[in-house]
Symmetry: D2
Subunit: 98 residues, 4 copies
């Protein structure tokens, strides 16, 4: 967990929370489609839409993280700055590979 | 929507429903992480895990769809068979591009 | 290797060969950009374009494969048909996960 | 194009050039497979391998870019720093979406 530093996304928190609520609703919707024996292709279409919505949230969080947490640590310099960059690169790799 | 045909995934419906319940829970978990100002990288890690879980559900549904709906239509032949193949290809493209 | 069966893509072979020639040229172009110390972001832009071009070739080949090799084997039925479907599903999964 | 600044990847240039040479060779190999009417699935396997190789080059370049170009500009601060972060975020989005 991070100390007193406020994360980049905090200034946009309400919007992220609303987006996650929608994503939760989309997941529930897909559950209902399966429960109601909906046609496979229609379910796949919804899963692709949900995956894109998640990707966009991740890209937004990453953008905020780079502009705040990583930028602040980089300005301070030293090991903390390098560690933050390495950590961000690993998160980007996970996102690209998922 | 599909007529009386039973879709490939029906035989595995309980498992798909359980997986979607978990996915819904993961989405709720990410919502809570944002609500509790959790560190950005930890949230991104959970989003990558959720995206992979969704991808695996989609690949399972696609596998079932090819082996049942598409295979049945192909055996019947004619335009229905070709339409099913085109439809499956378009769903695969959406999945690859999302 | 496949016996005397002609693969789906054969009817479109010239176009696929031309597309692969372009892809080879794009790769050579990226090599040259690195050799000439071009700015990182410009190289990344070209890599994203090349990745998309490759994805589109793969989706085309997959579409042809489903419509010919898999469809033919499905019509014949039996283990051969099932094996072809399983094989196609595994290829789709590799494509989605790469 | 970038002025006198040396890009992050320059210190690893020889290795990147060798990787791009291999990628070019992989593309040529896929061209040859199509030319020799090789089975579709075997070609798709090679395309997935090539896509992964390209992704890994992109992630390496991005890592270097963040640790050098973006970090240097961030330390200087002001509009240049913000522009570099925005530019990096856009490149990450293209990579994730391609």
């Amino acid at each position: 967990m991070e100390g007193e530093h406020t994360h980049g996304y905090i200034s946009d928190k309400a919007r992220y929370l609303a987006r996650l609520k929608r994503i939760e609703g989309q997941a529930r919707g897909i559950h209902r489609m399966i429960d109601e024996d909906v046609y496979c292709i229609d379910i796949l279409t919804q899963i692709s839409a949900l995956t894109s919505a998640l990707e966009n949230v991740a890209l937004g969080l990453l953008d905020d993280h780079l502009a705040h947490c990583v930028a602040d640590a980089t300005r301070q310099g030293g090991e903390e700055g390098e560690a933050k960059l390495k950590e961000a690169s690993a998160a980007i790799a996970r996102l690209v590979k998922s």
